[in-house]
Symmetry: C3
C-alpha cells in the first residue's frame, strides 16, 4: 500500500490541487496533461472531464448502494456452530444464544439392601432409562451491560418440567457479575462445574448434600486473573420443583473464594473454600425437622441414606476444594462439614468428601477457568479423521449423616434409613466431538445403618449416558 | 447528482451515440477524441477501446457477483434488539419473534388474620421468593395474513409449567383480528394490559375475580382510530393448570367496547365497558357449587377471601372502565358487578372495584393503544447517561363477595373464609431500560368475615420484583 | 464474455507484457501508447501510470472489503418460511430448525353408557375444549453426521408439560439413521405418520393400543428406494408422563419392514409388517397386572374400554399394514394381534384393526415417503387465489380386548369396564395452506361389555380442531 499513497500524493502535487487521495482519478490527471499539451481542446477537456467525474460519482454511488444492502440485509448477525445458535446486533449491544442439552441415561441396578433388617426400602431397585436432563434455553445480553438467562428443564426420575436458571444480571462493573433470580449459589467446585462437563455421570453424594445448587436470590462474583470471589443470599421458593435438600430454607447466604497459584495451559493448581448459612426458621410450621438424605445413584429412587434431625433452626456449612490438572491427568477433592443448630437438642455435625482422578488416554487436557473446571475438547473428532477423546475416571466418596451423640437423645432424629454411605465410581468417557459425549459408570455403594451391629447394604449399578449439548 | 446526469448526457451527445448513461465510459470517449485528433492510430484505438470495454464488462460482472452473494446469504433477515429476536422472510410473508419474560418476586408478609376466630387459615403467612412468571415463547406471521402464538409459562406459587397463549389467527380482513385457541377474552382494562406493563406487581382483586383472562375459544377484534370492539366465546378446558376462577366453566361468551374521545401523545381519555356470560351447567356433576375467592397478594397461598355459592347455573358480569393519561400522570378505575344465577336459591350479587394513580417522576408518559395501556419507555436509560425512569403508584381496591340476603338461606353457601377485602397498594417502579424494570410494592389488606361482629384480619406485605422482558 | 477475454489477450500481446487479464487496465495501455507517441513526457507517464496503478489497487481493496463484510455478516444463513425457522452454517455442517405445532380441539359428546349396568363410568361425558398438542422444539445437525432433536409438549386432557422426542442420532452411514433417546419405535403406519399429517383427529383405537409410540432406547433405520427396515430396543422410563399403555415396560424390542411395489407420484401401493416384544418382568413388583385400555375419543377422559390381565410376564405383538394412494384417493388398513404371556394363567389373545379411506375434493394427492404417509399440500392456498384443499375421510375401527377363555379363570382379570369397541369416524379436513389445517370429525362408538347379555354403550362425539404447524 506504500506505492499507492505515495503515488497518489505525487499525483496530487503534480496536479497542484487539493485532491483527496481516495478521490484521485488518473483519468482526470491524464485529461489535464493532454489539455495542457494541446493534444485535446479546452472544450473536449471540459466534456471529457465532466464525463469522468460523473463516472467516478456513479461508481461511488454503486459502492454505497451495495454497502447499504449488506447493512440492511444483515443488521444483526447469526452464527450456528458447535457453540449453538448465536445472534448479535450490529452494535453488539444485544446478543441471544439459544441452546440445549440432552442427557439420556440407562441403568442396570443390582442390590442387596438390608434384606433382613428392612428399614423401609424393601423393593428391589430396578433397571430402566430416564432423561437425567433435557433442556432448552435462551440467554444473552441487553444494552451491553445487562444479561438474562432462562432455561426450561425436564428430567430426573420424576419427569417434571420446570425452569433451572432464570436470571437478570449486570456486568457493567469491571470483572464483576451481579445476578438476581434462580442460579447456583457459591459452594463447591464439582457443583459449580456444569453437568455437561463433570467427569462422572453424577456428582458426589457430598456435593449433592452440602453444596447449595440453585436458589432464587442475589449474587455478586468478582474475578481476577487467577482468583474468584463470590457471595450470595437468597429466599426460599418453597415450591419443591427440584429435589435439592435445602430448597425449603427460609433464607440463606453463602460465600466462596478460589485461588489458582498455577494456571497455565497444561498445568493448574486450584484451591477453594466456601461457607454458607441456611436458616430453617419458617419451614414446617413450628417444627423444623430437617431431613438430610441422598441417593446411591440416579436409578435408586428411594434414597437409601436418610436422617431427619428434628428441631433444627439453621445450618452452617464449610467446604474445602483442592484440584490439579497436569497434562492429561487431573485430580480433585472436596471436603464438606455441616453443623445443624438445634433449639432443644444437641447440635449435630455431619460431613462428606470425595476424591476424583481423571486421565485422558488421547492426551487432551481438561479446561479450567474462573475457579471452575471445564471440559475436554477432542483434538481429533470422529468424522474428521479421529476417534474422539477417551477418558478414564475414578472417584471415591463418603457421606456420613450420623452424629451419634446428637442422635442418641430421645426424639432427636426420625425418618431413619441408612446413615452412612461409601461409593466407588469407575468411569469411561468418549468425547465424540465438542457437542457429543458418551459415558459409562460403574458405581459400587456400601450403605450402613446406625444400629450397633452395623448392617451393611450393597447397591451396584452400571449406568450409561448419551449426552448432546448445543 | 445534477452534475452527473448533465455531463453524461452531454457526453452522450458529443459521441453521437445511443450510449446509456450508466454504461458511459469516459475512457472510450477520450480514445475516440484522441483517434479523431490523430494522436493515436486507428489500430491502437481499436485495441485500446476493446480493452476498455472488457474492463467495463468485468466491473459490471463483479458487481453482479457481489449482489448475488448478498442475496443468497440473506434471503431472510434477523434482528436482535430490545424487542427480542425477530426474523422476516425476504417477501415479508413469514415472520417469527422469539422472546420471553422473567418476573422474579421476593416477599415479606406480616399478618394477624382471624387469630381468635380461625376460619381455616391459621398458619402464619411466610416470607419467601417465587417466580411469578418465567416464559419463553414464539409467535409470528405465516402467508402474510395468518398468525400464531405459543408461549410456555412457569410460575406462581405452584411452580407448574404450562402454556399461556396458544393461538392460530387471521388478520387478513381490514383492521380485524380473529383468534382461535387459548388467549385473553374481552374484559377489563387492567386484565388486557400485559403483565409486563401494569403499574403494580399484581392486578386488583376485582380484576382477578371478575375479568376473564385466558380461555380456549374464538374471538374477533376490530379496531378504529380511537375505538375497539371485541367479542369472544369459549369452551372450558377443565384441566385446571391456572388458578383462574372461571376455568372450569362449561362455556361462555363476552364482549368489550372501548372509546378514546381524546387520544393524543400526552393526553388520553379512555372509556370502556364489558359484559360476559359464563355457563357452569356441566361443572361438578349435578351440583354447580361455584367458589369465588381471591388472594390478598401472591405470597399468601391460601386465599383469605372465599365464598362458595352453591347450586349456581351461570354468571352475568358487567364491567366499566375509565382512565386518563395527562403527561406524567395517569388515573384509571374499573368497576365489576356479577350476578350468580342459581337454581333453587336466590341469585347472588357480588362486586369489586379499584382506582389506580401513577406519576412518572422523570417525566415520561404512559403509552396507550387499541384500548389497552402500554408501558413507559425511559428517556434516559441507565448506561446511556441516565438513571432510567422512576414511577410512583397508588391503588385502592375492594372486593365484596358477600350477598347477605342470598347467603342467608340454609345450605346456600359453603367454604367460607373472609368475605370482603380492602387493599391499599403503594408502589415505586424503576424502568432501567426498555427491557428491565424493578418494582417495590407495599400492600395493606383488611379482610372481614361475614359474622355479625365483623371480625377483621390484617395482612401487610412488602414485595419486590426483578423483571426482564425480551 | 468472449469479447472480453479476446480483447484482453490482444491488449496483452500489444503491450508485450505478462499482464494478467484481470489486472489489465486500459488506462495504463493508453498511457504507454501516448508516451511511445511522445504525446506525454516520460515524467508525466511515470506519475500518471503510478496514479492509475494506485487507483486499480484501491478498487481491488474496496471489493475485498465488501466481500469480507458480506462474509462476516452472514457466515451462517437463516430462512423463515412455511417450513419454520431454519439456520445453516456456511459449511453446512451445522443446522438448526426451530418450530412447533398447536392442535386446539373442541368437542361435543353425547353418551348413553351402561346406564342401567354401571361398570364404573357413570358420569355423563362432557363438552369442552383441550389442547391436544402444543409443542415447541429444536432439532438439527452437528458436525455433518450427527443429529439431535428436542421437543417440549403440552397437551391432552391432563394438561401436563413434558418432552416428546429427545434424541441424539448418527446419519453418517449410507441411507441409515441411528437414534438414541426417546423416539417412536418401529410399529404401525398410522402411528409413524406425524400427528400433523394423519387424516383423522385421532389415530385408531388399534394403533393407540398396539403400536409402540415413543420409548427411550436405540433404533436403526435403513432405507432403500422403495423399502425401509427399522429395528429398535428400549428400557422403560417408568415415569408415566404420557398415557401410553406400554410406558412402564421393563424393556422391549421391535422391528418393522415396509415395501412399496408401486411408488409413483400419483400411485402408491404400500405393504408393511411389524413385530414387537415387551417385557413386564419388573413392573408392579411381583404382580405384573397389565392394564389394556382405550378411549372412545379424546373428550372421554375415563377410558370406557379396559381389561387388566393379571400376572402378565410379556407381550408379543404382530402388525400388518396395507395402503394405496391413487390420485386424490387413498385407502389404508392395519391389523394388530397381541399375545399376553402369563405365568399362572392362560395366555390371552387380543386384537384390533381399522380401515381408512380419504378423498381430496380439490384433487391433491397425499404424500408418501420412506414407509410413512405424508400430508396434502394445497395447490391453491387461501389468500393466493384459492380455497385451499378439502378432504373427506371415513374410518371404521375395532378393538377387542376380551379373550373369554383366558379371562374366565378366577382371578385372571380385573379392572373391567367395556371390553370391545367399534368406532365409525367421518371427517372433513380443510388445508388452508402448508401450515394451517382445520378438521371436523364425527365419531360414533359402540362399546360392549363382557356380560352374557352383552350390554352396549353408545358414545357419539362431534369434534373440531384448529391446527397450525410451523
Amino acid at each position: 500500500m506504500k506505492l499507492k499513497s505515495t503515488s497518489l500524493m505525487v499525483a496530487g502535487v503534480l496536479l497542484g490541487a487539493a485532491v483527496m487521495p481516495v478521490q484521485a482519478d488518473p483519468m482526470l490527471d491524464l485529461l489535464q496533461v493532454l489539455r495542457d499539451k494541446g493534444t485535446i481542446s479546452a472544450e473536449d477537456y471540459s466534456l471529457l472531464s465532466n464525463a469522468a467525474k460523473a463516472k467516478g460519482e456513479q461508481t461511488a454511488a454503486e459502492k454505497e448502494e451495495i454497502m447499504a444492502k449488506v447493512e440492511s440485509k444483515s443488521s444483526s448477525s447469526v452464527t450456528v456452530d458447535s457453540k449453538g445458535l448465536n445472534f448479535q446486533s450490529a452494535d453488539k449491544a444485544f446478543t441471544v444464544n439459544i441452546g440445549g442439552r440432552i442427557h439420556a441415561d440407562y441403568g442396570f441396578v443390582d442390590d442387596d439392601y438390608f434384606g433382613a433388617n428392612n428399614t423401609g426400602i424393601g423393593n428391589e431397585f430396578g433397571n430402566g432409562s430416564q432423561f437425567r436432563r433435557a433442556r432448552l434455553g435462551m440467554n444473552g445480553t441487553m444494552f451491553t451491560d445487562w444479561i438474562y438467562e432462562l432455561e426450561i428443564n425436564y428430567g430426573g426420575a420424576d419427569g417434571d418440567t420446570g425452569f433451572t436458571d432464570a436470571i437478570i444480571g449486570y456486568k457493567g462493573f469491571d470483572s464483576t457479575t451481579i445476578k438476581l433470580g434462580r442460579h447456583k449459589m457459591p459452594a463447591g467446585l464439582e457443583e459449580l462445574t456444569s453437568s455437561n462437563r463433570i467427569s462422572t455421570m453424577e456428582r458426589s453424594m457430598a456435593t449433592n448434600t452440602f453444596a447449595l445448587s440453585r436458589f432464587n436470590g442475589l449474587s455478586v462474583e468478582r474475578k481476577g486473573s487467577n482468583w474468584t470471589v463470590m457471595g450470595g443470599t437468597w429466599m426460599g421458593e418453597g415450591n419443591g420443583d427440584t429435589d435439592n435438600n435445602n430448597k425449603d430454607s427460609d433464607w440463606g447466604a453463602a460465600g466462596r473464594f478460589t485461588f489458582a497459584p498455577i494456571q497455565e495451559r497444561n498445568s493448574v493448581v486450584h484451591l477453594g473454600a466456601s461457607i454458607s448459612y441456611i436458616d430453617f426458621e419458617k419451614v414446617g410450621g413450628d417444627n423444623q425437622n430437617i431431613r438430610v438424605r441422598q441417593r446411591a445413584n440416579r436409578f435408586v429412587n428411594e434414597r437409601p441414606v436418610q436422617v431427619t434431625y428434628n428441631d433444627t433452626k439453621s445450618a452452617n456449612t464449610y467446604g474445602l476444594e483442592l484440584a490439579t490438572i497436569q497434562g492429561p491427568f487431573s485430580l480433585q477433592g472436596e471436603y464438606f462439614y455441616r453443623t445443624l443448630d438445634r433449639k432443644d437438642f444437641k447440635d449435630a455435625d455431619i460431613d462428606g468428601w470425595y476424591i476424583l482422578g481423571t486421565y485422558t488416554l488421547t492426551g487432551e487436557t481438561r479446561g479450567y477457568r474462573d475457579g471452575r473446571m471445564r471440559t475436554i475438547s477432542p483434538r481429533n473428532p470422529v468424522g474428521q479423521g479421529g476417534a474422539g477423546a477417551w477418558e478414564l475416571v475414578a472417584r471415591y466418596d463418603e457421606l456420613d449423616l450420623w452424629d451419634s451423640s446428637a442422635a442418641r437423645e430421645a426424639g432427636s432424629v426420625s425418618g431413619l434409613r441408612g446413615t452412612k454411605a461409601e461409593n466407588w465410581t469407575l468411569g469411561l468417557n468418549w468425547y465424540v466431538n465438542d457437542n457429543i459425549r458418551f459415558m459409562a459408570n460403574y458405581v459400587d455403594s456400601k450403605i450402613k445403618d446406625s444400629s450397633p451391629n452395623d448392617n451393611t447394604g450393597k447397591i451396584k449399578a452400571f449406568t450409561l449416558r448419551g449426552q448432546v449439548a448445543f
